[in-house]
Amino acid sequence: MPSDHASGFAPWEDADATPLISFDGVTKQFGSFTAIDNIDLQIYPKEFFALLGPSGCGKTTLMRMLGGFEDVTEGTITIDGQNMAGIPANKRAVNMMFQSYALFPHLSVADNIAFGLKRSDMPKSEIQGRVDEMLRLVQLQKFARRKPHQISGGQRQRVALARALAKAPKLLLLDEPLGALDKKLRQETQFELMDIQEKTGTTFVIVTHDQEEAMTVASRIAVMDNGLLKQVDTPDRVYESPNSVYVADFIGDVNIITGTASEVLENTQLIWAEGATPITGMTGSRVVQGEPASFVIRPEKVSISKDEPQAANKVQGKVIDIAYLGNMSTYHVALANGVIVKSQTANNRRIARRDITWEDPVWLSWTDTAGLVLRD
């Protein structure tokens, strides 16, 4: 499935595009605790926007403020040009899919979906048609008369989605929508979600702590920590060009080598161990010559070999661990100064002759542009 930005969908790069949602200097405090700290953020129509972060980072609070379940301590939230201050949840063109699904246990699947429609200005005669349409969208026509406890977890998730979409909201909020599903079902459902998002053209904002899920579904990801937005970017940019060690470390697997920056140009040389050749990576944000910095590189961009390679950056070490994951293997290599660097290689052949094994002296190498030097 092509991701949105690959097909040219990138309103955040268009200076003339009007955002659907705009956070301006938004702060939320619970007593003396600051859950959201002066956030500015624009989300555009038809985006599939992910709020990603560890628990307690403020992502759920941010979403609940959009839904109207928490008010703003400072700053303004604008949705579709309208200031949301003082507008309660039941008066917003925003619907939410709850983490627990929150299906009404005493109502059938069809009545759950019709619940919001009956409270809208939709004429009674059209409600049944809309419910049928939603049931078709999530492929639950056969289960319309069942009660929530009479269907499986995956089906419940789809009912919750259909119920939240029934009123055709401008914005759909999804709070950990796939958290309760097992891994296989979760992966299938991710694609279903993307499909439905594309069909309905609704703007989705999803809260998740699962970075793989965010990478799969989202057009843009906001990585949060301690009430701050650390980086807001497309999945590939967040992965390949993290703006901080925190983001690099939070998304995916990463090797981090600390040292001192020298020669900050397009690339930066990092002095990481006494007597060793400095390593080179692309200069990331806010690196200052002579100051401490970190070199970050993804394990799959580190090559491993027994013989000395012809490469811009190379270090020697000893294999201390091999993790065989089936489709790939990760080698844990200890360098002379004790730093452990991981190298990942795809197992392209079925029964590969393993020429590298535990305790082997090996060379690790990478190109000048494979890694980034970031300020700590």
Binding site: G67, G68, F69, P88, A89, N90, V94, N95, M96, F98, Q99, S100, A102, F104, P105, H106, F115, G116, R119, S120, R146, K147, H149, Q150, I151, S152, R163, A164, K167
Partner: protein, 270 residues
């Protein structure tokens, strides 16, 4: 299944005998033809016939039912509201005091509750009658309702209400169409409990009843003081029959509901 040891059989028999032999004797003697309660004079249902003619008993029964229905309804409304506040409003100044005050009447001796209510009614000049019994019963049974409902409320998923708001409900609409149907079993059992307590109550009713409004327990108690009549036995047998019928129906219904739910859950997983 393990076999019962003879010790278990004996203790079970003795236990049940202890509980039910007095009632059994009462039931048997209600069909006694003799006027003397302790002497068996042959089988007869005449006391049931006489009971139906006894205006005083029928009046008392009617008052009891009326008081039970009204007071348990008031108690259910107030008790549910109290439970709502206790569970929902989180921490507020005086919450511990408030919840303590809700539950205090549960352990307060009935004599004290009855006496204090009597003094209150006298001091505000409220004539004693059905109204005062209703008020008294609603007051003490409300605590029981509140206990039953708040335990259910505590396990209630708040996001259900938030979902209702999210889908366009106002506060009252969300309560009526989501919260109430879900906590309904607790509200109903609270009502039944309040109703039972009201039917059962002798002490508080005797403090708050007026001369023209006697409840059945008061009537029975006062006539027994003049000697146990076979009519009382007949009346008691009818009450036992009603209670037994109620208990059996309730347990069959809930058993069926459980079986049905299990079957449906299996169907859902399949």
């Amino acid at each position: 299944m393990r076999r019962m040891t003879s010790f278990n059989v004996v203790s079970l028999t003795v236990g049940f005998a202890f509980l039910y032999i007095p009632m059994l004797i009462l039931v048997i003697y209600s069909f006694n033809a003799s006027k003397l309660v302790t002497v068996w004079g042959g089988f007869s249902t005449k006391w049931y016939g006489e009971l139906m003619q006894n205006e005083a008993f029928l009046d008392a029964a009617w008052v009891t039912i009326k008081v039970g229905l009204i007071s348990s309804t008031i108690a259910t409304i107030l008790g549910t509201m109290a439970a709502f506040v206790l569970v929902r409003s989180g921490r507020f100044f005086g919450r511990t005091l408030f919840s303590g005050m809700i539950y205090a009447p549960l352990v307060m001796p009935e004599v004290i509750t009855g006496l204090s209510l009597l003094l209150l009614f006298i001091s505000i000049g409220l004539p004693r009658g059905v109204t005062t019994i209703v008020l008294a019963h609603a007051t003490f049974s409300m605590c029981y309702v509140s206990v039953v409902v708040s335990s259910r409320m505590a396990s209630f998923d708040r996001s259900l209400e938030e979902a209702a708001y999210d889908l366009g409900c106002t506060g009252w609409d969300a309560f009526k169409s989501v919260t109430l149907p879900i906590i309904a079993p607790a509200v109903i059992s609270g009502w039944l409990l309040a109703f039972t307590l009201s039917l059962d109550d002798l002490v508080i009713a005797s403090f708050t009843a007026g001369p023209a409004s006697t409840t059945l327990p008061i009537k029975i108690f006062s006539s027994v003081r003049l000697g146990v009549s076979p009519e009382i036995n007949a009346l008691s047998t009818i009450i036992i029959a009603i209670v037994t019928f109620g208990v059996i129906t309730a347990s069959i219904t809930s058993k069926r509901a459980i079986v049905k739910q299990q079957r449906e859950e299996q169907m859902a997983d399949a």
